[in-house]
Assembly symmetry: C2
Amino acid sequence: MLVVQKYGGTSVGDLDRIQNVANKVAKTVDAGNDVVVIVSAMSGETNKLLDYATHFSKKPPQRELDLLVSSGERVTSALLSIALQEMGYNATAMTGRQAGIKTDSNHTKARISSIDPTPMQNELQKGKIIVVAGFQGINENGDVTTLGRGGSDLTAVAIAGALNADVCEIYTDVDGIYTTDPRIEPKAKRLDRISYDEMLELASMGAKVMQSRSVELAKKLNVDILVKSSFKDEDNNGTLITREENVMEKVLVSGIALDKNQVRVTVFGLEDKPGINAELFNKLADKNINVDMIIQNVGHDNKANVTFTVPETELELTKEVMKDFENRSEEISYDENIAKVSIVGVGMKSHSGVAATAFDTMAKENINIQMISTSEIKISMVIDEKYGELAVRALHEAYGLDK
Amino acid sequence: MLVVQKYGGTSVGDLDRIQNVANKVAKTVDAGNDVVVIVSAMSGETNKLLDYATHFSKKPPQRELDLLVSSGERVTSALLSIALQEMGYNATAMTGRQAGIKTDSNHTKARISSIDPTPMQNELQKGKIIVVAGFQGINENGDVTTLGRGGSDLTAVAIAGALNADVCEIYTDVDGIYTTDPRIEPKAKRLDRISYDEMLELASMGAKVMQSRSVELAKKLNVDILVKSSFKDEDNNGTLITREENVMEKVLVSGIALDKNQVRVTVFGLEDKPGINAELFNKLADKNINVDMIIQNVGHDNKANVTFTVPETELELTKEVMKDFENRSEEISYDENIAKVSIVGVGMKSHSGVAATAFDTMAKENINIQMISTSEIKISMVIDEKYGELAVRALHEAYGLDK
């Protein structure tokens, strides 16, 4: 088998942990596999380098920033290769450039444009373990670029795709994807398998294990992702993120997600002029504000009430955009005390009654539902923030996820 | 003018010092110059990375080691470029690869094989300040290589040569080359100018300011080196290392050097067989042992006494080599309590009497001379270690260097 493994910042957080990763890689090789490893910077390194940069400039030039922070992953890749060679394994470290990773010139959040698999294939044919510095590539000028948040996961998925690997293992500090956050509901169960689409709905909703862009790329390239723990040796089967048809037991509901970092924005009495809604959401989109749920009701006097949610981190930016609409509406209110609870599952597509169960459960607990939005495989409800955990536990039980 | 400036590890030792370097570069640009800056890693960084590597392996693979330690200079180059851009200057950071520096594959002590000046020339034409990560290049496989000790100086000299720069300024923690070590003789004077050959004799002899290989390259490429202090703003004219014909005032003696890190090895009664001397020194050379002075006297019974000096750091290795000769000689002795005092000056070439003054001075101070060796521009004497500083002061005065 050709196995791609990715180890994140906490997994390589100090020299002992890097040795631990070397042992894991060696074990995979001993089991008869070819292995390509992708590593992040040692935890804390990237932030230290960013702090250095902001010492000189509040807005450091992004080309230089990429040259700066990319050094963290290079260090880890060299160290892991040294550790493996000391153990008698034939390993070679590669930078993003050497691994053939080309990107666009969008510094600090570049997109991978192509991967030339030849250099890696040549080394694999020589029987080498390849250790790639994640998170980075070069643009067409030969300048170093970085891939932004989740960039090392993205590197791993892209390389797994380019090399047609059998599996892309993502080692992290949790041992898989759970039916809900175990800190909220201790009865939460680890899922053996989950489809790309379900994972995307969960990822966009506060299940922080994988960034959406990596799951999206895996779906596009048809790469199986196996999320496992770096720190467990036993009982570490992880969760496989794969195509829907590979998820055998099509459960009705796979998981419940809770997102408490949303703000509800309500515009009362917005002027009922054609295109005013489009103008509002275009202006938010121009500022890259991530609008999630949107609801519109007709109000009195033919004026409309529009409600939507945005992430808390984008609240200030949202308030700026909304200034334009203060004269064209009666009132704009912001409510940070909300929580979004989401029920995700591919089984919903073919089963009715899932939504009814959700509403029943909320009613039984006397929780008022403020907003509802649904997709083919998801139902989201906005409720009062203080009931968030209660709602998760009640729904987790109602759909039998603890069984 | 096109000015190449190199700032060493202590000059960029922390963020404030990097800002200080940015100010110095800016001043040079404001004075109407084009500037290419070469930077070392922040002091301590390279050692930290080497410590990381030796945590995993006593003898880390050198290719990986180069990838590892080269990251230190990259960090500094990015930070300095950020600082300059924040001050409103048009700067760009370049790695060794981007600066067109090709080397052989002799990892951790590579030699520069060529520099393609085009990428740097293009940026200079756009009016940019170029900040190059020193100490590194790439080999023909595209792997990162490093240039070994003094590698950033070497980068600066090589770039100054490739760009045909007007001067190569080396900023360091001393403000120039002195007639002798001011810690030994407070009356020591800074030299305005010194020839390449004089500097080479001084460098090989304990004046630690510049590595010989950089001075040799400067001589070969005809690059003027100006050694200055990073920390002084006033009275910082430095010392120009240049061609002999540019050293106007051809003083008899330029400087006195003291080297206390030599060991004297004496082989008594070495078998007088043809080629045995050649065998001895070839075997030392094979181990890269840096033999300095050699003296041979005919001993009794037609057996020879051979005396030579080696650096203290290479004593153990020397003893190993000498095992081969224990059966073919009467006794081998090692004396670490020696000092080598050297008098250097291009003026010697055309003046006699320089040696006589040296011997007179030693006699007056009752210092016994154990070995003597001379070149066109140098006289070296080995004496008892405890008289080292006394000899330096006496010679400094005898040649009027304090005037």
